[in-house]
């Protein structure tokens, strides 16, 4: 067990846990940040995706002891003063979900993609998002939402 000071959504939060406990488990089970979801525990589905220093990372594979002072942003940290990010708004506008369980991971992954590649081609979207599973099969709408968000960033 150890005490870890984490930088999450701009706040400094401290937890006393085993260093090998996953960041996902710490977020969900210690910090009540349940918007980040468990889907497989082995980095195959993307439901647990968070931003780690701005880039998408699978929190289920990340021991909390290795997070250090990295800036972590979860789905709860995207909205600012009641304003959705363009990606969140685009998911709403395209109706890019059914049950919505994958949505947090999809949105965080898309935010990461658009930071690195503001105007991705469809092929780049598919390549970047292929590690995220939507069992309801809303992939075409998610691609459309990412396109829409990218277009908005253009104007």
């Amino acid at each position: 067990m150890g005490e870890f000071a984490l930088n999450i959504n701009g706040s400094h939060l401290s937890v006393t846990v085993a260093p090998e406990e996953s960041l996902l488990s710490v977020l969900r089970n210690h910090l009540k940040l349940t918007g980040t979801h468990y889907g497989c525990g082995e980095g195959q589905c993307g439901a647990c995706t968070v931003l780690l220093n701005g880039a998408a990372a699978r929190s289920c594979l990340m021991p909390v002891g290795g997070v250090g002072s990295a800036q972590i942003v979860t789905i709860e940290g995207l909205e600012q003063n009641g304003r959705l990010t363009p990606v969140q708004q685009a998911f709403l506008d395209e109706g890019a979900f059914q049950c919505g369980y994958c949505t947090s991971g999809m949105i965080v992954s898309a935010v990461s993609l658009l930071r690195q590649t503001p105007h991705p081609t469809d092929q780049q979207i598919v390549a970047a998002m292929n590690g995220n599973v939507c069992r309801c099969g809303t992939y075409p709408r998610i691609v459309a939402a990412i396109r829409r968000a990218a277009k908005g960033a253009n104007s």
Partner: protein, 723 residues
């Protein structure tokens, strides 16, 4: 409570309500005063179940009767806020929104004024569950009746207050207005604190042609909660002083526990071991410790030898009794087969597949004395309540099951395993306990879409007239087993069998398997007769609704514009079940050198009567196509000796972004027909359309689902093409 942990009951794959739920408005519920205290004063619309129809089919519900007590469906408070109560649950099919649209229409209130209270056994009327595409055709009219009755009562109340004729008043936008004076009462003003209940039966509903709110694409009611992470799924529920539980799983099905050494696990701080026969679980202050404790348990299991994929199809055929199961016959199939010139005989097989909902089974259980509250993800909250009631020897009113909108189910969450486990552990711990199944637990200890063998013998005349049709389904199920085509001589027979694995409902039940076999077979007959596959179908089809979707899909796709080549194939298939009609055209690209193919384009037409929410419907149909790709091409459970060999997403391939073709959905809106459900039947056309497209290009008929697995199941032929 001491049943063997490794032994699980089968779930009937054909679980279906046989009886339309019929309701009529009678009087107040007995506990109305309690209810009003809880929700504040207001108008309460109540229904009673007529005793004559108060019995379900009884299958899989232990004969659980519909409740005869009176229950509340709709409540309008003094601020004109509307609460609607239904036992149906939201699992991504968008029923929370589409039911609210229908209530808003009949009640004449803004959509935003409605809150749907769903799947809560203490607050909503009894409901068998959310399956069989029944929510739209049964709960829709049910709630429309209630809303219409409420509207009429509100008008009558206003008429009484104004001493006017009710027929001269208008209900609109949450108000009753006297058009001559323009004065009005809000609904809240009319209901505030008063009892406004009367007997109403079968009120006239607003025809779909006049709908203003249904028929439009209102976005998901609480969509913002899903893009901000605010929505709480069952696995997100947190209670004060909550502990975390985990269960020791046997190393195989039907295992017995020989020995257990729990000393290392019990040394972990805060860990409590709970043992009851072969059930072994732990509770711990946090999930990580609970999992660690499980991993430290040293258990010896005795697992009996059990079959594998290699023997699967032989077992399914051999274990069925030829006389068992429903069958229908007309004419003499043998004579018709002997007399007709064109014959196709083929055996089709489908492997077990997993629902793999992205949110695995989860539950939080909390005891308060002998009262139990459970939050869990299930398509049958009342069924889970009954399971808990029986298991813990409680009465139904001591058990409260709440179903937060969950990370879907696809037919895979009819049961209450996690609820049961959480309740067991919580009782032992004396504190609330959360259980969230791991992915491999979900793959292994849930239940599967049935595997099956389907054998079809059929014959046609030279001109393409179907002459004989014999269809046997072993184990996979009877949904959509009857052919929609006109054939004088028919024998259709579903053979129940002993399934080696636990099996149960899946999106469309066996319709996907039966339609795959039938539409592959129709395609083979068309080619054997030298006819265009669409022309051949239409020649033998009189069902106007099914004809219409075939024609709409063909038109949208441009069917017949080009001929298939060795590198490009076009296929068509369709079917109907549960009031939904669908047909799909698929285009595949073949790489002969690489022995591979990919689906390039799918155009699918869909009709289910009057459309309630066009955008939600498109989402469902497109999603069904994508999910259908998994079962068509690569999803399969590999198993041997009581173990699932591929219980991980790394080993069990599901459709991803890169698997998705160009998809076009063509909707046919039949405002003259009642709305049917759309969550399931949209999945049936994809697999045969793709199989037929592959045949058109290559001349190879693939009669197995999945068609292109990465690794063929033992006992199955290597797939001719990869995908």
């Amino acid at each position: 409570m001491s049943s063997r942990a490794g032994h699980l009951p089968q779930v009937d794959p054909n679980l279906e309500p046989f009886q339309e739920e019929r309701w009529r408005l009678l009087a107040l519920p007995l506990d109305r005063r309690d209810f009003l205290r809880f929700f504040g004063g207001g108008l309460l619309v109540c229904l009673a179940h007529p005793p004559a129809v108060a019995q379900e089919s009884g299958r899989n519900f232990g004969g659980h009767p519909l409740p005869r007590d009176i229950a509340a469906w709709l409540h309008i408070d003094a601020e004109s806020r509307v609460r609607v109560f239904t036992g149906k649950v939201e699992v991504g099919q968008n029923i929370r929104t589409s039911l609210a649209q229908q209530v808003a229409e009949e009640l004449r209130v803004p959509f935003d004024s409605i809150t749907m209270v769903m799947g809560d056994t203490a607050l909503t009327p009894y409901d068998m569950g959310t399956f069989g595409s029944r929510s739209t055709p049964t709960m829709g009219p049910q709630l429309r009746n209630m809303a219409t009755a409420a509207r009429q009562m509100l008008i009558e109340t206003a008429a009484t207050r104004w001493k006017l004729d009710a027929a001269s008043l208008i209900a609109e936008a949450g108000k009753v207005t006297d058009p001559r004076t323009s004065r009005s009462f809000t609904y809240g003003e009319l209901t505030g604190g008063q009892d406004l209940v009367q007997v109403v039966s079968d009120p006239p509903l607003t025809p779909a042609a006049d709908w203003k709110i249904p028929g439009t694409s209102i976005p998901k009611a609480d969509g913002r909660d899903f893009v901000t992470g605010r929505h709480q799924y069952p696995s997100d529920i947190i209670r004060e002083n909550m502990l975390f539980g985990a269960v020791l799983r046997p190393t195989g099905y039907n295992a017995t526990l020989v020995s257990l050494d729990s000393s290392a696990a019990e040394k972990l701080r805060g860990v409590q071991l709970v043992r009851d026969g072969d059930f072994v679980g732990v509770v711990a202050p946090d999930a990580f410790t609970a999992e660690r404790a499980i991993s430290l348990l040293r258990a010896q299991w005795n697992v009996p030898a059990q079959p594998s994929n290699r023997e699967l199809f032989r077992i399914l055929k051999d274990s069925s009794d030829p006389g068992d199961g429903p069958q229908s016959t007309s004419g003499s199939v043998e004579q018709a087969l002997a007399a007709a010139p064109i014959h196709v005989d083929q055996q089709y097989t489908v492997q077990y597949i997993a629902h793999a909902p992205l949110e695995p089974r989860a539950a939080v259980a909390e005891w308060n004395g002998s009262n139990l509250t459970v939050w869990t993800g299930t398509q049958r909250p009342f069924g889970v309540r009954d399971e808990l009631t029986q298991a813990f020897h409680l009465t139904a009113d001591q058990v409260h099951v709440i179903q937060p909108d969950m990370g879907s189910g696809y037919g895979g969450k009819h049961t209450g395993e996690a609820a049961m486990e959480a309740a067991r552990l919580a009782r032992a711990a004396g504190k609330p306990v959360k259980i969230v199944w791991s992915r491999s637990e979900e793959f292994t200890w849930a239940y599967f879409r049935p595997a099956g063998v389907i054998e079809i013998r059929a014959a046609a005349q030279h001109d393409g007239t179907l002459a004989a049709w014999e269809h046997h389904n072993y184990n996979s199920g009877s949904a959509a087993i009857g052919t929609p085509y006109v054939v004088a001589a028919q024998l259709v027979h579903y053979h129940p069998a002993s399934s080696p694995l636990r099996q149960g409902s899946y999106r469309s039940l066996a319709a996907a398997a039966n339609v795959f076999a039938r539409e592959s077979h129709m395609d083979a007959l068309a080619h054997a007769a030298g006819l265009d596959p669409l022309d051949f179908r239409l020649k033998n089809l009189t069902d106007a609704r099914l004809r219409a979707v075939f024609q709409a899909a063909a038109e949208g796709f441009g069917w017949g514009r080009e001929k298939s080549t060795p590198v490009r194939g076009w296929g068509i298939a369709g079917g109907t079940d549960k009031g939904g009609y669908t047909a799909a055209c698929a285009e595949v690209a073949i790489d002969p050198a690489a022995h591979s193919f990919r689906i390039v384009r799918v155009v699918q037409a869909w009709e289910c009567g009057a459309i309630v929410n066009p955008d939600g419907l498109r989402n469902q149909i497109a999603g069904a196509i994508v999910q259908g790709i998994g079962g068509a091409l690569f999803e399969q459970i590999l198993f041997a000796d009581g173990r699932v060999l591929n219980p991980r997403f790394a080993q069990y391939r599901v459709p991803r972004f890169s698997d998705v073709p160009q998809i076009e959905v063509v909707l046919i809106d039949r405002k003259d027909l009642p709305s049917a459900g759309a969550g399931e039947t949209g999945i049936v056309a994809l697999a045969p359309a793709v199989a037929n497209a592959i045949f058109a290009a290559t001349g190879v008929r693939i009669p197995t689902l999945p068609m292109a697995p990465r690794t063929p199941a033992p006992g199955s032929p290597a797939p001719p093409l990869r995908s």
